[in-house]
């Protein structure tokens, strides 16, 4: 008897996730890596360009959009 659990995706539902199965070497991965400027700006934000111990002063923060609903994976 197989067990089926409810899994709720929070993010990256609209795109196929980058996994280690998808490439073998640096060049292949470089072709797959997409650094969304908006995301990189947040992931490696001002604090991390200087030092995480240096916490930047408050600035206007854009509102967070709702997650994009993604389709259910088809059952086998």
């Amino acid at each position: 008897m197989k067990k089926e659990f409810l899994i709720r995706s929070i993010n990256l539902g609209a795109a196929e996730a980058l996994t280690l199965e998808k490439a073998e070497d640096r060049m292949e991965f470089e072709a797959l890596v997409f650094l969304d400027p908006a995301a990189v700006c947040k992931a490696c934000s001002e604090n991390w360009d200087v030092c995480p111990k240096y916490v930047a002063c408050p600035k206007d923060v854009p509102t967070v959009p709702d997650p994009t609903p993604v389709p259910c994976p088809s059952m086998k």
Binding site: E4, R8, S9, A15, E16, T19, L20, L35, C51
Partner: protein, 481 residues
């Protein structure tokens, strides 16, 4: 045919070494956080238990639909641990290469002198201050750094900022250099930042404010409420500074200067924090839209100092939570940083191949001698200079390349870590001090703090009414044969 393929795959699945399982603390659900791609999925704790044991046989009790979904998200894999490690190394190199090739923002931190009017016992500059305190940055050195040599000092940096740093940057003796730097900033259309003890700047308030050519923002530190603060953040004479700093903060906010208020805390200072926050609220500082207040533990990366009252970031975060006060602490700050992941719908979610300026070197510290440093805590320690700027040009030293190579693809301990791309390899100065090896991380509670930060961010995301839509990306509950 398809069913057969799925069955064969099932037998080879195992949990990825880069899968993180985060307890959401509600007694029912956990969050899967993939350390390769940033995928986040909420699952029942029973499934979390199966994934946590990393037992391939137990995975085979999962439905084909669950397995396929977990596989596509990278949470389970058919690669061996060794293959995963090898491929993660290649991926980290690929991400780092792309980050380095991208347009970079950066800037110069002008260390105007090593002089400071305070004598804080934990200062990381205290050892070399006596030998370097006579040099003060001149307006001519400012011209050399910001106009004549800037493209050699920061090659490839498209947009350069200026940060005033010291010692204490706003000492009267520094004013000529500051005003010259602000002229350059105005010409370039940029505002400036600063890190200051905020005890002397009332003598030059006109340089602060909004817009180009002004000091737009300032990081200031408090060491607890008045009595505690006035025991440690004081001049050699012991004269108090708390009230002057508060008065100057209010002046700065009135002029539109943003404040990042850092509470340097140890066990004793932490106990005074609730009263301090009440005071800051009453003074119109806490809650001001241009003020951010956060707590950090006092640390000792470079100097041997009395650490008997020190607290670590894990204990500090817990204590702040226990006190029930509205204060950013290391866990909530990590959560704020990771908040972007909640709404990420495309792109490579995790990109931190480096920890700070020390590796990318798109921001450098320049001191009055023209010496260049890649870490502001190391400024003044001659052995860690990465270069020198002078009349004859800019010379870079081998240390520059040593630091440039300090990214996770070159750090074996980090490559084996499930949160490496969310961390970047920890503070190099601290790691070298703690492990004796720049490339060997001293992680302490980093993973715990990061995962707790993600749980904090997710719970905040849900509380804001923005959880994943019902059944979005989900397979229905129940059993399936």
């Amino acid at each position: 045919m398809r069913l057969c393929e799925v069955k064969v795959k099932q037998e080879n699945y195992r949990a990825s070494r880069y899968l993180n399982i985060v307890d959401l603390g509600d007694g029912a659900n956990s969050l899967l956080f993939n350390g390769i791609n940033g995928c986040l999925d909420e699952i029942p704790n029973e499934l979390a238990g199966i994934l946590a044991c990393a037992d391939a046989e137990r995975l085979n009790f999962l439905s084909p639909g669950n397995l396929e979904f977990l596989y596509k998200r990278g949470h389970i894999t058919r690669l061996s641990p060794e293959q995963e490690l090898a491929r993660f190394t290649e991926l980290a190199r690929a991400i780092h290469a792309k980050r380095c090739a991208g347009a970079l923002n950066g800037g110069l931190m002008l260390l105007l002198s090593y002089n400071c009017n305070l004598a804080c016992p934990y200062c990381y500059q205290q050892q070399h201050r006596p030998g370097k305190s006579k040099a003060i940055m001149t307006p001519e050195m400012v011209d050399l750094l910001l106009a004549r040599r800037i493209n050699e000092i920061l090659p490839g940096v498209k947009k350069s900022g200026i940060c005033f740093y010291g010692g204490e940057p706003f000492l009267p003796a520094h004013e000529p250099a500051i005003r010259r730097a602000l002229e350059h900033a105005k010409k370039a259309g940029i505002g400036c930042d600063s890190v200051s003890n905020t005890t002397t700047l009332h003598a030059m308030l006109d340089i602060f404010g909004e817009g180009p050519g002004k000091v737009n923002s300032l990081q200031v530190s408090l060491d607890g409420f008045r009595d505690e603060h006035d025991r440690s953040r004081v001049p050699a004479s012991g004269a108090p500074t708390f009230d002057r700093i508060i008065a100057n903060m209010k002046e700065l906010l009135a002029r539109g200067t943003a404040l990042s208020i850092r509470l340097n805390l140890d066990r004793k200072k932490l106990a005074t924090t609730p009263r301090l926050l009440e005071f800051l609220k009453a003074e119109g500082i806490a809650g001001h839209k241009k003020a951010r207040i956060y707590a950090v533990p006092i640390h000792d990366n470079l100097c041997k100092i009395d650490d008997s009252d020190f607290t670590d970031i894990k204990a500090l975060s817990k204590k702040v939570l226990d006190l029930g006060i509205d204060l950013e602490h290391p866990v909530s700050m990590r959560g704020n940083e990771m908040q972007y992941l909640m709404s990420l719908q495309q792109g490579t979610g995790l990109t931190r191949t480096t920890y700070c300026m020390q590796t990318l070197q798109n921001t450098l510290v320049a001191d009055p001698f023209g010496d260049l440093y890649a870490c502001f805590e190391e400024a003044g320690y001659g052995q860690w200079r990465i270069g020198h700027a002078g009349e004859d040009g800019v010379e870079f030293f081998p240390q520059r390349e040593v630091y440039k190579n300090r990214h996770i693809a070159n750090m074996p301990d980090c490559l084996a870590c499930s949160i490496a791309l969310a961390c970047g390899g920890e503070c190099g100065a601290m790691c070298r001090a703690k492990t004796g090896d720049l490339y060997k991380p001293s992680c302490r509670h980093t993973k715990e703090i990061t995962l707790a930060g993600i749980a904090h961010a997710y719970n905040k995301f849900k509380a804001a009414g923005k959880p994943a839509a019902a059944n979005a990306g989900a397979v229905p509950a129940g059993s399936h044969d």
